[in-house]
Structures are given as structure tokens and as C-alpha cells.
């Protein structure tokens, strides 16, 4: 990254032509906006098609405040950035809670709204003709008019922002954003506050865009409502996509490659949309990761040493106390009247025929679905209203029936993500679990490259990396050989020794019976028995409903 910035510093040495410098300055300003957009689109996966509005807000705020209200350029800039941040926050909160294309469509209307707003307030906003004679920036008494000086000013600003963003993107925050992009449910289960992060990224990218707009107007001294309109916004997306989303430097590449196009195409300028649109479509169809996609990402740093074992937990109150929870989907009562306790170091299994409501019960406990009735307490604290990511932070870990690992992160990165709820110990925890589960050999591979047993292990490891007090496992034994089941049982016993409470849903009796302290049997959403393994498998009702009357299942 420093290399890239340094090469930008050399540009004026090649050419001092004011026109060329002007174009490069414009490219740098676009890089600023595109990098912010990359955080939103490439990292968090939210498609903002009207990003130009934030640049326009910055530009108009600077333009209006300096021409009509006597502000200095430097004081007008933060006002513009604040205004953009506010707008982003207002729009983001409702739309980011929904599916991606809602945001895309909502933001498509931004240029329309901005245009309308400017026209309605045309007395002081300049209307369709825009604002002219915007003063240049001054330092002390010195007016910044020389293109060379301005180029370096902009480069300085861009460098600072770029370095900050680059560091953030390569930290846990970057992992969290990419996890959100890949699988919001899994991210939530790992303790990530998805909505809040998405809003923050939206606001940050809007603020950066506004900064760029302000710097633009003090150089060009003119702005109109359509300067940063729909065409501009879409061009930003195209540049980002071609260069490669989610890499930061991909955006820089895209701007440098395509930013020159309008100049090259001077005569045939009206062909630009056709060319750009076709490029976008072709890239998305055949190389969605853009040009940067051909370069493999550097993996997260894995410490060599395996530090000490996991901390233990003890508590007198039941770790999990469920009372009378129920959930209906339309006309189907999936779960009804379910109550049980699980103490520290206790393994409780839930068994029952398909459709009995076992997975639903786990989802209710973890918070992925809200219960219609009843109470759920974690360590004595009621959590019925608490969202899933928060329950994860309180010490609840879960695995899913079909392992939900983030496919775009390496195995180790998935574990780091899981451990990130722990604060600064995360790298140590993740590395420790990796070594403990004997997965060091796949640490830098992607989950898709591991075999099924390894994937299950990785998922459990990701949950364990957060040192949970309660572990919910949804059919961990499915598809495993008997040796693998033995290994799994040993692992779960270790966790039990450590004091972790475990709720296990499975059909494999050879795993469930030896392992469990108690077994709860669900049938059609309601519990029909809850007791010690020997009693449960001998019970006639249980046999009739699930095990098979003449089955020879035994303790």
C-alpha cells in the first residue's frame, strides 16, 4: 500500500502539465470515494447505487457555505461530512435491515431526490445551473491555486484515509465485514452485531465521499446538481467492480484503469455508457472478483506457539433455563410447552422423530428465531428479547445442521472470527483451538477444501473459540464414521470437564446415549419425557414414538 501511495507521489515528476495534474487530482478524489464504497460493497456486501449523492452533499455544502455564508473552506468541509453522515444514518437504518437489493433500489433514487431538492430550493441552492465561483482553499493567506500544490494536498488526504482504511480492512473488522457479506446468520451467531456494523460502514463511506466532494469544488470552483448524479454513481461501482471488490487496492486499480476513459473517448463520449455497461455485465458474469480476484489474499497471521488450554467455567445457577417456550409457523405449532434446565458440565440431548421441533428448539434458544411464548434464561439472565448476536456474546455457541462456515475466509480466519467476541485474546484462543483440534494443517485453506469431518470440527472449533458457557450442537454426528463419532464424543467430554453446558440434538444413539447426562424426547413439538438415558430408552412411549418398539437400543 505504501508503495502504491509512493508511486502516486512520483506522478508530477513525470509531467507538470496542469491539465494532466488536474486529471490525476480528479482520479485521486475518485479513489477516495471508491475506497469508501469498497468498504460498503466489497467488504460488507451492500450495494449502494447512488453514492454520488454523498459526494454532492460535500460539494454543495462547501460550495454554498463558502459562497453564500462566508464560511472558510476548512470549516465548511466538516459540515458537509456531517450532513452526509446524517443522511447515510437516516437511510441506512431502515433499509439495511432488509435484503441487499432493497438498498440498491432505494439508493438508485438518490440522484433523483437530490436533483428535486436542489430545484425546489433554487433560490439559494443555485437550482439547475449550479453554484459558480466557489473560492479556493487558503492556508494562512496563501491561496491554493497551483495544480501541483493541490495535487499534493489531495494526495496527502487520500494517503491518510487510505492507510486507516487499509489497516481496518486487514484487521478483525475486515473479517467481520466479510463474514456479514457471506452469511449474515452465521455472522450473527458468532456475536457480530450485523445491523450496527452495516450502518457504521455506510456512514463512514458517506463521510469519506463528502470529503472528496469538498476537495473537488475548491479546485474546480463549480458544481451542478448532475455533476455527481446517476452516471457518476454508477461509474464508481463499475470502476470498483472491474478493479476488484473487497481488496482496497482493487478500487485504486479500477479508478486508474477506467478513470481515463472519458478523456480517451472524448470524441465518442456518448459511447461511454455502452462500453462501461458492457464491461460491468461481462465482469460480473465471468470474473465477479474483478482484476484483483486473480491475486490471492494474504491470510491472517497465525502465531506459531500453541498457548495454554481453555479456561474453566463454574456456576451454581443453571447455565440454561428454558420455561414453557412455544413457536408456531402459520398454522403449524412447531414447539409447545418446552421446559428444561441445563447446568454447567451437563450434557443434555434432545431426540425425537423428524419434524419434532428439535432444530426449532435450538433456534429459539440461540435467538435465530423469536419465541412466541415462554422464558429463556442464560446464567439466570432473561434473554427472550435479546438478539442472537448478543446471546453469542453472553457465552452461547452453536453449530448448524449444515455447517455454516464463511466460505471466503480461511479456516483459521473463521476461528478468529469466532473468537473475536473475546476481545484481545482472540488470536491466542483461535490458535489454541486450532492446535487442540489438530487442524493446523488446514489453517490457511478454505472451508470448501476440507473434508466433511474436518468441516464439522472446524465449525465446532469456531464455536469453541469463543469459550462458550453453553454449546448448542445440531446433529454433529450426521455423516460421520464410527471412529469419527468416538473422537467427537471425546472432544465433547473434554468440554464437559471444562464446565461447559452442552445441548445436543442428534439421531445417532451410539453418540447420544453414552455421552448424555439426561435425554429429552420431543414429539410433534412437545416433550414426552425427560430423564436419564437408561429410563428414556426403556420407556414405552418413547419407543413407540421414535426408537422402535422392538429396537435393541440399550444404554
Amino acid at each position: 500500500m505504501l508503495g502504491i501511495l509512493a508511486s502516486f507521489a512520483i506522478v508530477p515528476l513525470v509531467s507538470q502539465d496542469p491539465y494532466v495534474l488536474g486529471v490525476w487530482t480528479f482520479l485521486l478524489l475518485n479513489i477516495l470515494v471508491v475506497v469508501g464504497l469498497d468498504l460498503l460493497l466489497g467488504y460488507a456486501g451492500q450495494l449502494s447505487l447512488g453514492h454520488g449523492i454523498f459526494v454532492a452533499i460535500g460539494a454543495y455544502a462547501s460550495g454554498l457555505l463558502t459562497t453564500k455564508a462566508g464560511f472558510s473552506g476548512w470549516t465548511a468541509m466538516p459540515v458537509g461530512m456531517l450532513a452526509a453522515a446524517l443522511l447515510a444514518a437516516i437511510v441506512a437504518v431502515p433499509t439495511l435491515r432488509l435484503r441487499g437489493y432493497y438498498l440498491a433500489m432505494a439508493t438508485l433514487g438518490f440522484p433523483v431526490m437530490f436533483d428535486a431538492a436542489v430545484r425546489v430550493t433554487s433560490q439559494w441552492s443555485g437550482g439547475s445551473s449550479g453554484i459558480i465561483s466557489i473560492p479556493r482553499l487558503k492556508i494562512g493567506g496563501y491561496i491554493l491555486r497551483d495544480p501541483l500544490v493541490y495535487y499534493y494536498l489531495v494526495l496527502g488526504v487520500v494517503a491518510v484515509v487510505l492507510l486507516v482504511v487499509w489497516n481496518l480492512a486487514n484487521s478483525r473488522l475486515g473479517l467481520k465485514l466479510r463474514a456479514i457479506h457471506a452469511d449474515e446468520t452465521a455472522a450473527s451467531a458468532r456475536g457480530i452485531n450485523v445491523t450496527s456494523l452495516k450502518v457504521m460502514v455506510f456512514v463512514a463511506s458517506a463521510t469519506i465521499a463528502a470529503l472528496s466532494g469538498s476537495l473537488y469544488v475548491h479546485n474546480v470552483q463549480f458544481v451542478a446538481p448532475d455533476t455527481f448524479g446517476l452516471n457518476y454513481s454508477l461509474t464508481l461501482v463499475i470502476m470498483l467492480v472491474v478493479g476488484g471488490m473487497g481488496r482496497i487496492w482493487g478500487g485504486i486499480l479500477g479508478v486508474v484503469l477506467l478513470g481515463w476513459m472519458p478523456e480517451l473517448l472524448r470524441e465518442a463520449a456518448t459511447w461511454q455508457p455502452v462500453i462501461f455497461g458492457s464491461i460491468l455485465a461481462i465482469i460480473m458474469l465471468f470474473a465477479p472478483s474483478g482484476l484483483a480476484g486473480f491475486v490471492r489474499r494474504r491470510s491472517f497471521f497465525l502465531p506459531e506457539e500453541a498457548p495454554a488450554g481453555p479456561p474453566s467455567i463454574s456456576s451454581e445457577k443453571p447455565v440454561l433455563a428454558v420455561r414453557d417456550i412455544g413457536k408456531a409457523f402459520g398454522g403449524v405449532q412447531a414447539v409447545k410447552g418446552l421446559s428444561f434446565d441445563v447446568r454447567a458440565g451437563e450434557i443434555k440431548s434432545i431426540i425425537g422423530p423428524n419434524g419434532a421441533g428439535k432444530s426449532t428448539a435450538l433456534a429459539l434458544i440461540s435467538g435465530a428465531i423469536a419465541a412466541d411464548s415462554g422464558t429463556i434464561k442464560l446464567g439466570g439472565q432473561p434473554v427472550e428479547q435479546t438478539p442472537a448476536y448478543h446471546r453469542a456474546r453472553l457465552g452461547l455457541g452453536r453449530t448448524f445442521q449444515h455447517a455454516r462456515l464463511i466460505p471466503t475466509l480461511t479456516v483459521y480466519e473463521n476461528m478468529v472470527l469466532g473468537a473475536s467476541v473475546l476481545g484481545n485474546r482472540y488470536e491466542a484462543e483461535a490458535s489454541m483451538i486450532l492446535h487442540h483440534l489438530d487442524l493446523v494443517h488446514v489453517a490457511h485453506a478454505f472451508p470448501g477444501e476440507a473434508n466433511q469431518y474436518e468441516r464439522k470440527l472446524i465449525e465446532i472449533g469456531t464455536a469453541l473459540a469463543a469459550s462458550p458457557a453453553l454449546l448448542l450442537l445440531d446433529e454433529p454426528g450426521a455423516g460421520l464414521s464410527s471412529t469419527e463419532i468416538e473422537k467427537l464424543a471425546t472432544l465433547l467430554r473434554e468440554q464437559k470437564e471444562r464446565g461447559c453446558a452442552i445441548v445436543l440434538v442428534d439421531h445417532i444413539m451410539s453418540l447420544v446415549i453414552p455421552l448424555s447426562d439426561s435425554i429429552l424426547v420431543l414429539n410433534s413439538g412437545s416433550p414426552i419425557m425427560d430423564g436419564e438415558p437408561a429410563e428414556v430408552i426403556a420407556d414405552a412411549d418413547v419407543r413407540r414414538a421414535y426408537l422402535g418398539e422392538r429396537s435393541d437400543v440399550h444404554a
Partner: protein, 292 residues
């Protein structure tokens, strides 16, 4: 504020509202069968209208020009679906959406090359109007409404009374289950694109003689059509028609009572409000466990 003229303002929004509804039907059909939001939907409308204008310039009678134009739209729809099907396996919805955006931009640019920047129109509707509740409703509006109603009937018959239509609904409901009974989701998606393009082109043909068409109307029409579909509930094409009419009426009221400068803003505001208050639209069901 001219309260007395409200019926007139409403009447003014009827025709365009029906058109928004038709565009919305296109969004709905494609979304239900392939989970893609087709940002190029607006371009079908623009091309439908402008192609007819060009044909009319060659003195081709409407009875020939309209079906020709419709055929061209259908071909466009098929081409788009063909293009999308070349996407790499495992592409997520963001990829498809961005591809349709790219196609929309390219098509708009192409329209600029072919037809230039002027607003264009052709003659279709007889002059004159009738009085309804104190408002003057012109024949253009009536024709558009009647044709929209016919399209709805045809759509209903297709979806609920024909085998292919039922297969399409099955696919929209659960594409995996549909596959197990021999329905091919790809085919249904293709059908959806063909139908959406045809209906979109028809919408363009209907609105151009009434309100003119320009190469860059596609984006705005797409946003409004999408809003119509959202208001009705994305998976429900008939809801989209109602949504479109609602949007058209709101727009008519806004333009008349408040200001015509903000004409396009009303749709956007409606979209935001609906997303805030009732994202599943008037006739849709809330997705379980969605907002968290």
C-alpha cells in the same frame, strides 16, 4: 391548494399508474421465478416505445407496428435471460443484479445512439375525453386502463388455468420441489423473462403516445415499476398492478397539490415509506425471522 381539482389530479395519474403497474408485473414475474431483480426492466419499456416510434415513422400501420415491436421486446427478454444464464455457477444475487445494471446502462447508451436525445412520440389514441366525477378522463387513459385490465385477465388465466402457468407458480413457490416433478426452473425463468419483456414493451407502447418517451426514461421507470411491485408485494404480480395504480394516484395528487418539480421524488418517498413500514407490501407475507 386546489382541493376541488383533486379528481382531475387523480385522473391524471391513472394512465401512468397503470403503466407503472405493468412494469411492476415484470419485476414480480422475474423475481418469483429466478430471485433476480431485473434492473433492465425499464429499458424494455423504453425500447418498446421507441421502436414503435421508429416503425411509425416508416408509415407502418399500428396494427403491424405494435406486434412487431412486441416481438422485438420478447427477443430482448430472451437475450437477457440467455446472457444471465452464462454466469458462473454459484454466483450470488448481487452478481445477477449488477449484471442487469450493466445491461441497463449499456442499453440506455445504445438507445441514445439510435434515437438521440429528443422526446419522441407517435399517434395512437383518438382525441377526446369523457367526464367522470367531475374529472376529464381522456380516451388515452381509458384505453390504457382497459388494456391493462385485459393483460391482468390474461395473466390470471395463464397462471391459474393453464398447465404452464401452474408450473411457473410451482417454481416460484419452491423451485427444488418443482424440479422433482419434472418442471425445469430454467425454462420457467426464461418464460418469465419473455413475459416480462413483452409486458414491459407493451407498457412502453401504451405510454409513449400519451406522454412521450426519451432514451433515458429507463431508470426512472424501473424505480417506479419496482416501487409498484414492492407496494403490492414482490411475489404478487396482481399486487404490482394495484401498487402501480396507487403510485400513479399518489403522484398525480403530489404533482397537482404540491409541486411538479418533485414529480419523481414521490415514487422514491413512497418506496422509502413502504420499506420502513411494511416491506412485504400490501399483499405479501412477512418473511419469518427476517428483521433482526
Amino acid at each position: 391548494m386546489d382541493w376541488g381539482a383533486i379528481p382531475q389530479f387523480l385522473a391524471g395519474g391513472l394512465a401512468i399508474g397503470a403503466v407503472y403497474g405493468l412494469i411492476g408485473v415484470g419485476f414480480s414475474l422475474i423475481y418469483s421465478t429466478s430471485k433476480v431483480i431485473n434492473f433492465a426492466q425499464g429499458e424494455f419499456v423504453v425500447y418498446g416505445g421507441l421502436t414503435t416510434v421508429s416503425l411509425a415513422l416508416f408509415d407502418i400501420p399500428a396494427s403491424v407496428a405494435l406486434p412487431l415491436s412486441l416481438a422485438a421486446s420478447i427477443v430482448m427478454g430472451g437475450a437477457l435471460q440467455g446472457l444471465l444464464s452464462t454466469a458462473r455457477k454459484g454466483s450470488n444475487e448481487l452478481t445477477y443484479i449488477m449484471t442487469t445494471i450493466g445491461v441497463a446502462i449499456a442499453l440506455q447508451g445504445l438507445a441514445h445512439q439510435i434515437w438521440g436525445t429528443d422526446y419522441k412520440t407517435y399517434a395512437l389514441y383518438p382525441q377526446g375525453a369523457i367526464k367522470v366525477f367531475g374529472a376529464s378522463v381522456n380516451y388515452a387513459t381509458i384505453t390504457i386502463l382497459v388494456i391493462t385490465a385485459l393483460v391482468c385477465v390474461a395473466l390470471w388465466v395463464f397462471l391459474f388455468r393453464s398447465m404452464i402457468g401452474k408450473a411457473m407458480r410451482a417454481c416460484a413457490n419452491d423451485s427444488r420441489a418443482a424440479r422433482t416433478v419434472g418442471i425445469r426452473p430454467r425454462r420457467m425463468a426464461l418464460l418469465a423473462y419473455l413475459a416480462s419483456a413483452a409486458i414491459g414493451g407493451l407498457a412502453g407502447m401504451l405510454i409513449t403516445p400519451s406522454q412521450m418517451m426519451s432514451y433515458d426514461n429507463g431508470v426512472i421507470l424501473a424505480i417506479k415499476g419496482f416501487t409498484a411491485a414492492i407496494v403490492g408485494g414482490l411475489a404478487n404480480p396482481f399486487g404490482a398492478v394495484i401498487g402501480g395504480l396507487v403510485l400513479g394516484l399518489l403522484e398525480g395528487l403530489g404533482v397537482g397539490l404540491i409541486s411538479s418539480d418533485l414529480q419523481n421524488a414521490y415514487a422514491f418517498l413512497t418506496l422509502l415509506v413502504i420499506l420502513l413500514v411494511r416491506p412485504q407490501g400490501l399483499f405479501g407475507r412477512a418473511e419469518p425471522g427476517s428483521a433482526r
